[in-house]
Subunit: 116 residues, 3 copies
């Protein structure tokens, strides 16, 4: 059995879980849910950066991303921030669909799998 490393486990989720060189993150919402889609996406990606750093990796090692948008019509605006954040030629695989999220003010949620 390899070791599982859990970052900031709460009663419902861990911020990240690392196993065998893979780093899984929870779906992240913006902290300031008063921001628009671009502002919320920036906050979510900054949080993912910080989470990956805790596990000794970064956005150049992304494998998979899932993105949920409250309004699928926000996709182009979210993509602007997303593409600017990604390293050149370093995009993960991705699925992006519409879904109502835990907080009605939340416009975007992103969950990733990275490796070390």
């Amino acid at each position: 059995m390899s070791r599982i490393i859990r970052t900031e486990p709460t009663a419902i989720l861990s911020r990240a879980v690392e196993y065998h060189g893979f780093v899984y993150t929870s779906g992240v919402l913006a902290r300031d849910l008063g921001k628009d889609i671009k502002g919320q996406t920036e906050e979510v990606l900054a949080e993912i950066d910080a989470t990956l750093e805790i596990h000794g990796t970064d956005k150049t090692r992304l494998l998979q991303a899932q993105i949920w948008l409250k309004h699928i019509g926000d996709r182009a605006a979210m993509n602007e921030i997303w593409s600017a954040w990604l390293p050149k030629d370093g995009a993960p695989v991705r699925a992006c669909v519409e879904a109502a999220l835990a907080d009605p003010r939340a416009l975007v949620e992103i969950q990733v799998v990275a490796c070390k």
Copy 2:
């Protein structure tokens, strides 16, 4: 090529697939869809326990969970059952969004990735 172990493959899905120490489960619905959100969540988690046991692992080795709720407003009630089920400090990463499910009576679907 490492060996892939499939549990109860049907024409559309396997109950679980194990590869290289990782155990993936299908999205699970309650058997009794007449139950409320708490009752359905209990049934789903019991099924996940049984599935993980088949693969020689258990809920202390959860890496990732995805949860779909028919009504996102059921999140707090589902979380009560979910948190009571999780081992202390053993939460996986998680995303939880709203979605219509295969059966209109289904209120919750949960899919996990664990390891051995």
Copy 3:
């Protein structure tokens, strides 16, 4: 650090990402979005076949699939094509839920994880 292989990275996603024997694909839409659910499913699965082949694997090595349907009522029709495509006793684990997709004409999106 093991090597990450990215196939056809764009500004927003890679068609597939391979790491440590795992092959992740992006969520795939049909090319011809004028087709019905069966036609779109056939196109999506043909695209997944081609993607897996690029990475030296195929549909006999599927681990996990996630399927989003614009109309959950299309599930039975999608399943017909899906089951005919799967190898006997070779189904991955699966979750299938309803979601609005990037293009309003898109009826189905499928994302898989396979291994080599």
